[in-house]
């Protein structure tokens, strides 16, 4: 239980650090140099407020299960066991980053922990999870795959095509829809017909549930059922988790997009903060004390601060890296991608 709290706290601290840095950001130097914390390049989509979904879902996954993520993927990475140091190094474009600095926030792939990738193309990861589930089934490893995606992604055709494929072949995949009500700066209800996103699974014969995405235990329980179904060959499930993002679409958006949400709305969601809520439950049930929670928060903040320091101090990739990695350098016949090792017990 405390581990769930710790992971949510880690995501919160990671995202708050990104936010602080982006707010005071000066961007890389004119020659592309990155020499101070304020020189974080690019832009980031933060998971602030949505932590309970990734953590609740990943709590019931095995290390060798697979996850396909989105442009808002830091939370998925951390919940699946990603290390904040190479993550932060990637955000700073460093050689020590998960993608050697070549990818950035939206292109992080960590095969050894089952992370199929964050993704800059909306809905593009959904069929990747379906394909991973296909290989889980065909290789008979008992693994499952999870596709995380947003409410905006539900209007892409590939979402429907993926559900059809998954249902048709009874694949062990869980569709986790993170409904934060917005698609960039437009309320999704202005873009989306019908009144139920979860209901879109039903014509395919895929069971669907709606859960409070700000309640980590509710998410975990829904995911537990879906994963159990998937593992015993009963095919896909869709979980719609209702939530909200505090930071908006991307950090620093006000300059480009202006104001589009009322303070009252944001405040009404802050009251339902997933971390505060779960913390209260933990204290009420005697699992820990306020100071116990405080200690976890502090430890995670320090962990993230160390990751920022080491990312800033790290080296950029050598210029010779510009043209490497386009093709594999392994021998033909060997499968070149690392996959997580399935524990034999």
């Amino acid at each position: 239980m405390l581990e769930l709290y710790r992971l949510m706290a880690r995501i919160r601290e990671f995202e708050e650090a990104c936010r602080r840095i982006q707010r005071t950001r000066t961007g890389p130097g004119p020659d592309g140099s990155v020499s101070s914390a304020g020189h974080m390049p690019g832009f980031v989509h933060l998971y602030l407020g949505e932590e309970a979904i990734a953590v609740g879902v990943c709590a019931v996954l095995r290390p060798d299960d697979l996850v396909a993520s989105t442009h808002r993927g830091h939370g998925h990475l951390i919940a699946k066991g990603g290390d904040v140091e190479p993550m932060m190094a990637e955000l700073y474009g460093r050689a020590a980053g998960y993608s050697k600095g070549k990818g950035g926030s939206m292109h992080i792939f960590v095969p050894e922990i089952g992370m199929l990738g964050t993704n800059g193309i909306v809905a593009a990861g959904i069929p990747h999870a379906v394909g991973a589930a296909l290989s889980c089934k065909l290789l008979g490893l008992g693994r499952v795959a999870v596709a995380f995606f947003g409410d905006g992604a539900c209007n892409q055709g590939v979402f429907f095509e993926s559900m059809n494929l998954a249902a048709l072949w009874a694949l062990p995949v869980i569709f986790v829809l993170e409904n934060n009500l917005y698609s960039e700066w437009t309320e999704s209800q202005r873009l989306t017909a019908g009144n139920s996103l979860a209901g879109r699974a039903l014509p395919f014969g895929i069971p669907a549930v709606v859960v409070d995405g700000n309640d980590v235990l509710a998410v975990r329980d829904a995911a537990w059922e879906a994963v159990a179904r998937a593992r015993c060959g009963q095919g896909p499930t869709l979980i719609e988790a209702r939530t909200y993002y505090y930071g908006g679409h991307f950090e620093g958006e006000e300059f480009f997009a202006g104001h589009y949400r009322s303070e009252a709305d944001v405040a009404s969601w802050r009251v339902r903060d997933p971390i505060v809520r779960f913390g209260r439950t933990l204290v009420d049930t005697g699992e820990t004390s306020d100071s116990g929670l405080e200690l976890i928060r502090r430890e995670e903040a320090e962990r993230v601060a160390r990751a920022v320091d080491s990312a800033v101090a790290a080296d950029p990739p050598a210029i010779s890296e510009l043209t490497t990695d386009v093709f594999a350098d392994t021998e033909p016949g060997t499968h070149p991608t690392v996959t997580p090792v399935t524990a034999t017990s």
Binding site: S33, G42, F43, G93, R94, A124, Q156, G157, T323
Partner: protein
Amino acid sequence: MFLSEAVAAGIATAMREDGTVFLFGEDVDRSVLGPTKGLVEEFGQERVRNTPISEQAVVGAMIGAAATGLRPVLDLMFGGFLYVAMDQVVNQLAHIGYMSGGRVRLPVVLMAGIGPSGQAGAQHSESPHAALMQAAGVKVVVPSTPADAKGLMIAAIRDPDPVAYLMDVSLAGSRGPVDLADAAVPLGRAAVRREGVHVTVAAMASAVPASLMAAEGLSASGIEVEVIDLRSLVPLDLDTVCNSIRKTRHLVIAETGRRTCGLGAEVAARVLECAWETLEAPPVRVAWPDVPVPFSPSLEFACIVTEGDVAEAVTRALGGRKPSAA
């Protein structure tokens, strides 16, 4: 006026003169990259419509709408998102005019922001101009000045055929004068931006200002570069390039995209086919290496086309020689 504002000004001109022009796209009302900002205020949500994230369906819908009386303009935001709709773009939009024996014409404008704009990562830095040039049936324009941004947009919307209107995102905030008289800049004509006698640099998008800066620098050492802004890639104005190399006898092509099968390859091949004897040395291409655009600032900087890259290419085209007095 900023280049992105000039794009919006061109759309506004076309929307005022023709009630069948409608604007579509994700968040076109707020337009984070700028090229449609302010239009919803003038034309309302009926004519300026935010679309769902459904690129394939929306491009297809533009086709049906254009086939039946509208002149739709669709902003796809980033060039990488165009690939999501590539069946509709190539198999349908580009080819229907021809496949129908000319019975169906599709006046659709597809807008997209192209090129790296500061560590946006590979999928948000694409420049699909070469893929579109290959599609056979889509005209392709790439403005590099605010005046062209407006004038080419007016021409693109009036054009009877599909036009891909590509805005180099790194130029969105560049400033320059625009024609207040709402004149179109005709498609298919390049512009000579700087005259010179030693080397011709044919460039597109942000490679144009990079080439102009390189030309200024080289001028100090006695090398006079002629800079041509190709701005319309389909149809391509080869005459302007050939006229120029008759004078300079050296050619460099600078493009904001990958080298293989790119604009540079096409221009070089066509020049060699029709005017090889006018060249004293092989053409030199300046382009990105054949890689997805890297995120890390130092790698991204090494990937993109800079003033230094163009200057070096000019020197290479001249074979390291100082040009003799012309």
